[in-house]
């Protein structure tokens, strides 16, 4: 197929040169090329194409068809028939350039139908001549002669550049008019001016233009963000109040008193009460041992009561109602050097594992 295409393109070029070189002089050339195209297109097998095309290009349409007809192929028969038709039409069409186009419209339109109709026959007769190749041949862009508009459009992009290149050269060389330098001079000047402007623009942009300011400020912002993120990792604030804090002198707490003023800041009740009959001051953690709500101290009922699930604790922190499974927890408490009570929240004491007997968990009164 590749060879075939190459050949066909070469033929096109040859035909095109012929038409370009002597369109008016030689009418036989388009004729022969036209016939040549028709014959190999119908045959479509790569091997016989070359021999078929070469002889077809030189003699008239009918001999070409006959040479093709030597092979017992239906497609060739069709090609021959088409060649006859075209040949019949040619004498009238050739002189005028417009007429071949009109004939071409008819011819390709007819081509596909018979080709398709006889596909099976062709396949039986000769294996290589399949439908695809026939159609490919039918669509072969190497047709220098009449063609449909669609075909012309398809071939246009491939063929146009080549002819376009030639005419431009000839135009440039042939008419060396005084007007040309005039056109030619301003163009290089303009190009030179734009390049110098670009350089200036680039430097300007980098230094002080709006875009430059934008990029600089953006990168600055990102840099600051990055620094801020790094700073965020080392906060300068204490997330919690100090775990050790002083709550005043032991004499501030009357016997039986539950001091609730430290709940908001430290989450602790300071209670002056007794445990196992021993009067002592202790710090209870304000977290329910059931699910962690903050219970309320009910002065009237003398108990801690959780609003979430109703757990209740005595004044000494022992659970007695509701679902809380354990007593409230104690924080460490001691008398500091200055005589004030100091609570240490970093140590917890749980009653159910006997930690309330630890002297660090209370201050004896």
């Amino acid at each position: 197929m590749a060879e075939k295409k190459k050949m066909s393109v070469a033929e096109i070029l040859a035909a095109a040169r012929k038409t370009d070189g002597g369109a008016t002089s030689d009418e036989a050339a388009p004729k022969s090329s036209d016939a040549a195209e028709a014959a190999p297109a119908a045959e479509s097998s790569p091997a016989p194409e070359k021999p078929a095309a070469k002889p077809a290009a030189k003699p008239a349409a009918k001999p070409a068809a006959k040479s093709g007809g030597g092979r017992p192929s239906v497609a060739e028969m069709l090609a021959a028939a088409r060649a006859e038709k075209q040949g019949g039409a040619k004498p009238a069409e050739k002189p005028a350039a417009a007429k071949p186009a009109a004939a071409a419209k008819e011819a390709p339109a007819k081509k596909p139908a018979p080709a398709k109709a006889k596909e099976p026959v062709a396949a039986k007769a000769q294996a290589p001549k399949d439908t695809g190749s026939i159609l490919a041949a039918a669509r072969n862009p190497s047709k220098p002669g009449p063609m449909t508009k669609a075909e012309a459009a398809r071939q246009a992009p491939a063929e146009k550049p080549k002819p376009a290149a030639k005419p431009v050269k000839s135009k440039l060389t042939v008419p060396p008019m005084p007007a040309k330098p005039d056109y030619a001079k301003p163009k290089p000047k303009a190009a030179a001016a734009t390049t110098t402007d670009r350089r200036g623009f680039l430097t300007g942009m980098m230094l002080g233009s709006c875009l430059g300011i934008g990029f600089v400020s953006m990168s600055t912002t990102f840099g600051l963000w990055l620094l801020g993120t790094a700073r965020f990792m080392y906060p300068n604030v204490l997330m919690e109040p100090p775990s050790q804090f002083k709550v005043g002198f032991p004499s501030n707490f009357a016997p039986g008193q539950v001091e609730t003023k430290f709940v908001g800041q430290y989450g602790v009740w300071i209670v002056n009460y007794e445990y196992n009959g021993e009067p002592q001051i202790y710090a209870l953690r304000t977290v329910c041992t059931h699910l962690g709500c903050t219970p309320n101290w009910l002065e009237g009922e003398q108990k801690f009561k959780c609003p979430c699930h109703g757990s209740g604790f005595y004044k000494d922190g022992i659970n007695f109602e509701g679902p809380a499974p354990r007593p409230l927890e104690r924080y460490a408490i001691r008398v500091a050097d200055d005589g004030q009570l100091e609570v240490d929240k970093s140590k917890l004491f749980q009653e159910e594992i006997g930690q309330w007997s630890d002297p660090a968990s209370f201050v004896a009164v």
Binding site: H290, C293, T294, P307, C308, H309, G312, E352, Q355
Partner: protein
């Protein structure tokens, strides 16, 4: 309620109640017209017309500033009835009654009467300041609506099931099989959904404008609102947390609910009842579902929404939410009952100096009765069930499936059992090992 006199509350709610009773009147008038015109049941129509006229009079009275209320004795009776024990046992009894009498109460006229009774009861209760304060709280208004919606759907499903069961007795196919025509997704379903969507959006807009969102003070880690309630759909779980250790009620039992629901298709061996409503053909499944949904979920949500007040105490619907209400709720572990109450000794206490092994042995000695009871409940009871009431189930299901089903059922039953034990015997934990966060 708070510094507002009874008369002020009544005058505030009277216009609303006037409209409410007018709505009831028009609702019943429409029903009377429907019965007379389409069903040609003149007697029923006359009854509902009379009721409708009565409602108009009540509405006029309410508009005039004197809506009818409940006498003090009735309110006290209702408060007493909604005490925890009667409430939890009573809902179970109601469930059984509803099951036994289902052929009676699914009759349209009976159901309509029940609906009217509940709506009127709602209206006359609203005059009470405490009741109105609970029911008209923006948080609770949708739950009131949901209660009525749930009643309607329960009636609808039961009515269809009863009808199908009656047809099955006569050898007829269920009603769902009669209307077997295929319906197209487009346009039948999609149009229905579109209409529902538009209607619900409109309802939501009206609701959002009419009822302000109940915003509270900024959250604080050291101040818990009193009472502190979960979202309404989690109030059943919150109620469960009152009776069990957080690990049990917060993790194990909810997971078991999910696992149990997922296990239903593998446990179910009854091929009947596929694609239609029925009770007779699936009695066990029906009862278990009604118990699990209506009893263990809905009634607990209602309890948590309307009856749980400050300090998570239980308050009757007409009771003032007193944050200083004193209840004797001293809870006692089973081990304390056994050692202190029965044996007259002190609890065996592991000494902190002893080795871990001896501590554990002491704890086991302390809790031996509870451990034995729990093991018996979950290990000995299933074979007993298989040998007696669930004999047929055991034969059909095989050992593994039956054991799974029996244990799931026992876990379901454990919640109301524990609730009643808590309220009657003040029993806190059957097994109480706070040393290892292991309580049951």
């Amino acid at each position: 309620m708070h510094g507002v006199s009874e008369a002020e509350v009544v005058s505030g709610i009277a216009p609303f109640l006037g409209g409410y009773y007018l709505f009831l009147a028009s609702m019943n008038a429409v029903m009377a017209f429907y019965l007379w015109h389409y069903k040609h049941r003149t007697n029923d129509a006359l009854v509902w017309t009379a009721f409708s006229l009565f409602m108009v009079i009540v509405s006029a009275a309410a508009m005039g500033g004197s809506p009818p209320g409940l006498p003090e004795s009735v309110r006290n009776l209702v408060n007493w009835l909604t005490g925890p024990v009667i409430y939890s046992v009573g809902t179970t009894v109601l469930l059984v009654i509803a099951y036994v009498l289902r052929r009676w109460w699914v009759k349209p006229m009976v159901a309509w009467t029940l609906l009217n009774i509940s709506l009127v009861a709602m209206g006359v209760s609203m005059v009470d300041a405490n009741f109105a304060a609970i029911v008209t709280k923006p948080d609770n208004v949708p739950i009131v609506g949901l209660v009525f919606l749930l009643g309607f759907f329960t009636w609808l499903a039961t009515a269809k099931a009863v009808e199908n069961d009656n047809r099955a007795k006569e050898g007829l196919p269920p009603t769902e099989k009669l209307d077997d025509e295929k319906v197209l997704v487009w346009p039948d379903l999609v149009y229905t959904e579109l209409i529902c969507m538009v209607a619900l959006t409109a309802l939501l807009l009206v609701w959002a404008i009419a009822l302000q969102a109940p915003l509270e003070e900024p959250a604080s880690s050291v101040k818990t609102p009193n009472p502190s309630k979960a979202p309404w759909y989690f109030l059943g779980l919150q109620e469960m947390l009152v009776y069990y250790d957080p690990w049990m009620a917060g993790v194990v039992l909810p997971s078991l609910v999910l696992v149990g629901l997922a296990a239903i298709p593998f446990l179910d061996f009854n091929k009947l009842g596929n694609g239609y409503y029925t009770i007779e053909q699936r009695k066990f499944s029906y009862l278990v579902f009604q118990f699990g949904f209506l009893e263990l979920w809905i009634t607990l949500i209602i309890l948590g929404t309307f009856f749980r007040g400050p300090n998570w105490n239980i308050f009757g619907p007409f009771e003032f939410w007193d944050p200083h209400k004193v209840l004797a709720l001293n809870n006692v572990d089973l081990s304390q009952y056994f050692w202190i109450g029965f044996m007259g000794e002190a609890l065996p206490k592991p000494s902190p100096d002893a080795t871990t092994l001896s501590q554990i042995l002491t704890i086991l000695l302390r809790e031996w009765l509870g451990i034995v009871l729990v093991v018996l409940y979950f290990v000995a009871l299933p074979p007993l069930m298989a040998a007696t009431i669930f004999r047929g189930f055991f034969v059909k299901m095989g050992f593994l499936r039956f054991m799974l089903m029996a244990n799931l059922l026992l876990f379901m039953a454990a919640l109301p059992l524990k609730m009643v034990l808590r309220w009657t015997l003040n029993l806190k934990y059957i097994i109480a090992i706070p040393e290892f966060f292991l309580n049951f």
